[in-house]
Amino acid sequence: MKNNLRWYKNGMRDGIPIALGYFAVAFTLGIVAKNAGLTAFQALLAAGLTNASAGGYAGFTLIAESAPYIEVAVTEFIVNVRYLLMSCALSQKLHPKTSTLHRAIVAFDVTDEVFGISMAVKGDLNPFYNYGAMTVSIPGWALGAFFGVIMGNVLPASLVSALSVGLYGMFLAIIIPPARKNKVIAGLVILSMALSFAFSRLPVLSGISSGMRVIILTVAISLAAAILFPVKETEEAENAV
């Protein structure tokens, strides 16, 4: 019990920067929701139930044009399918005996950021760590969308611009320290960024949506690395992301 409480508190601590970043990003998402004709309550509901930035953005854009339901479902699947990969990785991070209920709650908030910090804990992941992170990050995300609708463009652009970079700062804090210790990871990080940049700039390839780009590159690069540099169990434990 005491152990769970400690995990919960650690989750909340690590969730605070996520919540702040979420608030800023969701604020801009709220502006999109407002333009799509959603009320502040609807934006809050959509954000709080999906916890997905690209998914929210794509959904609101489709609502604005009264797209068919099936199109919304297919689009949501495509822009969010990277969470499928993340959930696979998370399934290995949880203790095999973790109950279905715990898995179901953890699944509700598998986002880029919560996934990042969950994989960064040492050893098996305790679901209470995720609950702590969710306690602060979900309200940050949902309220950001809510205030985005009602306050529109009140927040100065310079502040929104500064806050929106916080999430990337967090990603760097997750991937750089292990890259410093492990040359394979360092090489992969550099290669991933280089190819991601190439995909976003080259003709034809730049037509691929950013969600698809993440999936294609993640699968291709991780698979190549897995074949060329298989990981030993001990190494996995030492380098817990």
Partner: protein, 104 residues
């Protein structure tokens, strides 16, 4: 028209949740295949790196403030600054860089 918005929201939430719950609920054992384990081991680094760059350059009002945040973020993370520290400093770097850009 208003009720349709709620149907849209339910579809968005249901599809997104299905993607997240299926692997977590279905894969219950430790995977023993070395290649598959290694693949899943590398996924977080690759996916976070792909998502960070070049998106960080486009997230801010100016490419230069994004680039400054990237360099600062990598340097701070390299020297072991905490998650929160790196996130906040990146934001501050963007804010200051954009102030400086405005001066010129």
């Amino acid at each position: 028209m208003q009720y349709k918005v709620y149907i849209y929201i339910i579809i968005m939430a249901a599809v997104t949740y299905a993607i997240r719950i299926l692997p977590l609920a279905l894969i219950r054992k430790k995977i023993t295949n070395v290649t598959l384990r290694s693949f899943l081991f590398y996924v977080p680094y690759v996916t976070l790196a792909v998502m960070t760059f070049p998106a960080i350059l486009e997230a801010t009002n100016s490419i230069w403030s994004g680039l400054a945040a990237l360099i600062a973020g990598v340097a701070l993370a390299y020297f072991g600054v905490s998650l929160f520290g790196v996130a906040v400093c990146s934001c501050a770097v963007v804010f200051v860089t954009e102030l400086i850009i405005k001066l010129f």
